[in-house]
Amino acid sequence: MVRSALAPRGGGLARGPHRAALSIPAISVLLASFTAALPIVSLNGWWPDAGLLVLLAWRLLRADAFPAWVAAPLGLVHDLLTGSPVGLSMMLWPSFMLALDVVDRRTMWRDYWIEWLLAAIFLAIAEVAEWQVATWDGAELRFATVAPAIIVAIFSYPLAALLASRIDRWRLGR
């Protein structure tokens, strides 16, 4: 029998939540937005929006990861870092949070497939909104140019979900 008293320190008992457990979800979204600073020079904008992916992953993992309004300042910072029109994510992200609150009231059961489907819908909405705003901004792109971006974003969601659940376990000390 393994005696917990003999286990290495911090290994078994006496492990509670991380001191900053409440703010870690928001900070992780912020860090994901900072990936915009990576020296990736791409000819097509098919890379996924890391900030939005992590935000959705947290929100679908837990309803109480952060209050809905926190998504607005996170979206503002995301807009500034990625260079998209200021206010786009600031408007979209809290709207997604409210929409997911409504979805939570309506759905009785939830499994990974439904979460992925919900994430796919919101990721597609975000890409289409970005495309529409670009059109208003003087760049009338064909819709075919954003379709690959939507597909890439949808297929990178499980990665973000995995990341969020790992961070969640770490911050809660489990």
């Binding site: 600073a37 791409s42 000819l43 890379w47 996924p48 260079g83 206010g87 994510s89 809290p94 901004d137």
Partner: protein, 293 residues
Amino acid sequence: MVASAGRRPGLSRRAQYGLFFGFVATVGAILVGLIMLILSLAAPSTYAAVRGVALDVTAPAAGALNEIATTATGLVSGAGNYWDAARQNARLKRQRDAMLHRMIEAKAITLENIELKRALSLRERERGTVAAGRVVGSSFSSPRRFAILSVGTRDGVAVGMPVRAADGLIGRVIEAGRFASRVLLVSDRANIVPARLVRGGIPVIATGRGDGTVDVRPLEVGRNPFRRGDIIVTSGTGGLYPPLWPIARIVRLDDDGAIARPLADPGQISFALVERPFEPEAIAEAARAGDAR
């Protein structure tokens, strides 16, 4: 698994108020975001200062990481250079000899050109490079095509200046922070470059397609003047881009135009040169166009 909706406040009046005010705050934030979005579409210069600061925040990280990435790729491609070195050496020597001949020819033509211009007493404004910077990032998750350059207002960069690499035109500066600036690439949909075909000098318009290629259309409707492999260069019309900068090579023809690939790939070039606008008045024009962007 049951959905983790459960922030039901129960009978606690305090919890009910908390939820309600949280909801009000969220709706308020959405409205503020909407207003800011409308503002940034109607008058983008509103956020010029704060966006410049954001650029400065992201650029150093990108620059530092860029060094690492360049070193790593340099190690791989550098090792490749030692492979088959003898044959490569012979080929490079042949190329150098051919280039030398071409260079002498070009020098003669330049000399002739200078004399002809003097004869016509054409005056050309002094042009020069404002700053040279690295491409340290891009808008890789957006349908728009921007690149981030590691030079800013501190180096003399201003909004509206054209940017080129040794291979050809890259785009123009649309936002300038203190240490970094954002460049609207040739392949962005909103970037319209007046150009002409090198073969025949037919005036054309180059518009980005958002996926790294450029749409080229002749100004005059009629027979499709393009052939695969044609090079287009800037025409100098509009006064922003100086004339005769290479832009792109035609890769595919379509009904009334062609699709071209820019000669300068922002992902490959090591340095980008920020230059003065061809006509100084154009920079004010570009600033106004930036407002309408």
